[in-house]
């Protein structure tokens, strides 16, 4: 094809097709609202309307399994009941235990792994991808197959522990014992989400420019000193971001734990979301569970607020 032909084709392509006046006349402002409206409408219908409805239900005695019973206003009764309920406080305590230990282990192991991967050994990209796999899996499916690994007689976990320690594999039940079950869910969550913290920490470590270390080396700062005065402070916003994200997610934790322990034995691993599910979908105390949902939502929303502020600070760097 000759050059002129090419130019002609390009000219034709570059000429905008005729559009009707109506479309051409749309101002940027109109387009902006047309582009945003569907998203906002969907979120209003599926998120905000239900939220408002939950607030309303939390002041009533409505029960989902008895829709024909007259609905009565009960005022703040459910809120008072919840804040005074030992069952709720036990659930909050179980949640706090779960959130605290998972975050501690994930941050320590995750940061450690990121630090090692940042030594850029041969094949580090490949092994990083392998390590990331658990966090992409379905928490429900993960909970289900860890239940298999935790079986006292036949499970791989007990077998490996007994192989290394000599303890009889059938002498301890990770999911059946009141003492061990809270740790069983911490182990699975740590297995699953350490890669997440690692990935964010790795980004933090890689954001530290090399010349800072070169300058420190010139000043004869020891490796130990470099780690505490350069590496850790500069990676800290990233670590905090990871911690906040995990905090919010684990505060809401439901699927993995429900399949692993179902909240048991007794109610030792009954996290807040599981209590909420029991009240709402097994006891059908809709009003009560709505109030509980609002309380949880306010707590998460508070965390989310802090999260967004931290996120903005990290972004500005």
């Amino acid at each position: 094809m000759s050059t002129i032909d090419l130019l002609a084709t390009r000219a034709v392509k570059a000429t905008p097709p005729a559009l009707s006046k109506a479309v051409r006349g749309l101002s940027d402002k109109t387009i902006a609202w047309i582009f945003i409206a569907p998203t906002i409408i969907l979120l209003l219908a599926i998120n905000i309307f239900p939220l408002v409805w939950t607030i309303y239900l939390s002041f009533t005695n409505y029960a989902a399994n008895r829709p024909n019973r007259p609905v009565m206003n009960v005022g703040l009764k459910w809120y008072r009941d919840i804040l005074g309920s030992p069952e709720v406080w036990a659930a909050m305590q179980a949640t706090a235990h779960f959130v605290f230990w998972t975050i501690l282990f994930q941050t320590l192991i995750g940061f450690g792994l990121a630090y090692l991967i940042d030594r850029k050994f041969k094949g580090h990209a490949f092994w990083t991808t392998i390590i990331l796999i658990p966090m992409m899996l379905s928490p429900a499916v993960v909970g289900n197959f860890w239940k298999f690994l935790y079986q006292p007689q036949i499970g791989l976990f007990n077998y490996v522990i007994s192989f290394f320690t000599g303890i009889e594999p059938s002498s301890f039940e990770m999911l059946g014992s009141v003492m061990l079950a809270p740790w069983a869910i911490v182990i699975v969550d740590t297995w699953m989400w350490t890669p997440y913290v690692m990935l964010i920490c790795l980004a933090g470590l890689r954001s530290i420019p090399g010349y800072i270390y070169e300058a420190a080396e010139v000043d004869r700062a020891s490796n130990w000193r470099q780690f505490w005065s350069i590496t850790l402070p500069m990676a800290l916003p990233f670590i905090m971001l990871a911690v906040l994200f995990r905090g919010i997610e684990n505060f809401k934790m439901f699927d993995m734990v429900v399949l692993l322990t179902g909240g048991g034995p007794g109610s030792t691993t009954e996290l807040a979301s599981i209590t909420l599910k029991r009240q709402a979908f097994e006891a059908y105390r809709t009003g009560y569970s709505s109030a509980f949902a609002i309380i949880l939502f306010v707590a998460v929303f508070g965390l989310a607020n802090i999260y967004v502020r931290t996120l903005n600070r990290v972004k500005q760097r």
Partner: protein, 318 residues
């Protein structure tokens, strides 16, 4: 000798020994963390007695029984009845008869898997379509209270799923969306659209404004510039966002288990209900889990460059 070693490389470059030992620890961690996955994968190829033997069998004769049991339902029959039948048709028939059972029909795994596909792809398509328009508007136009709106969009994802599920359950019951694929698609779209807006805004922010401005000087309208200039430029970002939405919808359990029970049930609530005679049918669970996880493994490898961005809602880019 140690002096020559330490000056041989750049001061910020770790020594060979440091690299090797770091590599060793990371590889050991990777192998340990893969062990549970290998185990469930191997269990899919065991017979039920092998799967619950003690000590756990690392070497075993692979069997198709797990996969057969996953896709079929079976009934126990007398030996006479089975002997009276003709020759077995296919491997699964043979494997089942060896356990003195006959295949009664297809299990629910295949339809649940298809439901997962329909709901994941449907909601991803909707969320990304809505998200790309909103993201463009937030990226390019001055929108009053843009930061508040963006925070509002994100905050919808912070709600505990069970808290949202209570009113959704009541609402869907009223309007007849309970246990329908459409209801699940709409719900997952609403959850995913926040991720889509935040991620896509980041990707579109990175496309220079000058591209569209040049096109608009050439006579393109804003809409035309959006479709012909911005969308092609954002293709990678759109693909990465879509995969993140797909993974969420594919993995979701809480809404699925509370809002679907039959027709529209997805695979995650179904897999834990696979039971054989006298307890869980672990080989079938292993097989079902393996098939369910394979798409995720493929997606993880495809996404590895964008993972960081996806999991932090675009807060950390590289």
């Amino acid at each position: 000798m140690s002096i020559t070693l330490s000056t041989a490389h750049s001061v910020v470059e770790p020594s060979l020994l440091a690299k090797r030992s770091a590599g060793f620890i990371v590889i050991v961690y990777a192998l340990i963390s893969m062990a549970p996955l290998f185990w469930i994968f191997a269990t899919g190829w065991k017979t039920p007695p092998d799967s619950i033997s003690y000590p756990p069998k690392i070497v075993f004769n692979p069997s198709l029984e797990g996969y057969c049991n996953l896709f079929t339902t079976r009934t126990r029959q007398t030996t006479d009845y089975i002997n009276a039948l003709g020759p077995p048709q296919g491997t699964c028939d043979e494997v089942t008869r060896r356990r003195e059972m006959v295949i009664a029909g297809a299990s629910n795994y295949a339809p649940r898997f298809v439901n997962s596909l329909i709901i994941a792809f449907g909601s991803t398509f909707l969320a990304v379509s809505l998200g790309v328009f909103s993201a463009y508007a937030f990226s390019r136009f001055k929108i009053p209270l843009a930061d508040d709106l963006l925070f509002f969009i994100l905050s919808t994802r912070m709600m505990p799923p069970i808290a949202v599920a209570i009113p959704i359950y009541l609402m869907y019951r009223e309007i007849g969306l309970s246990d329908t694929a459409l209801g699940m698609i709409l719900l997952y779209t609403a959850v995913n659209v926040s991720l889509a807006v935040w991620l896509l805004k980041g990707f579109i922010d990175e496309i220079p404004k000058e591209y569209e401005e040049a096109a608009m000087i050439d006579g393109y309208t804003r809409l035309h510039a959006f479709f012909k200039v911005v969308l092609p430029q954002a293709a990678t970002g759109i693909a990465a966002t879509a995969i993140f939405c797909l993974i969420f919808a594919w993995n979701e359990f809480a809404f699925a288990v509370l809002l679907t029970s039959g027709e529209a049930q997805t695979a995650p609530p179904f897999i834990p209900t696979i039971i054989g005679e006298g307890g869980m049918d672990w080989p079938a669970v292993g097989a079902g889990t393996t098939l369910f996880l394979i798409p995720i493994l493929v997606f993880t490898i495809l996404l590895r460059k964008h993972l960081l961005r996806g999991i932090t809602f675009g807060a950390v880019r590289k």
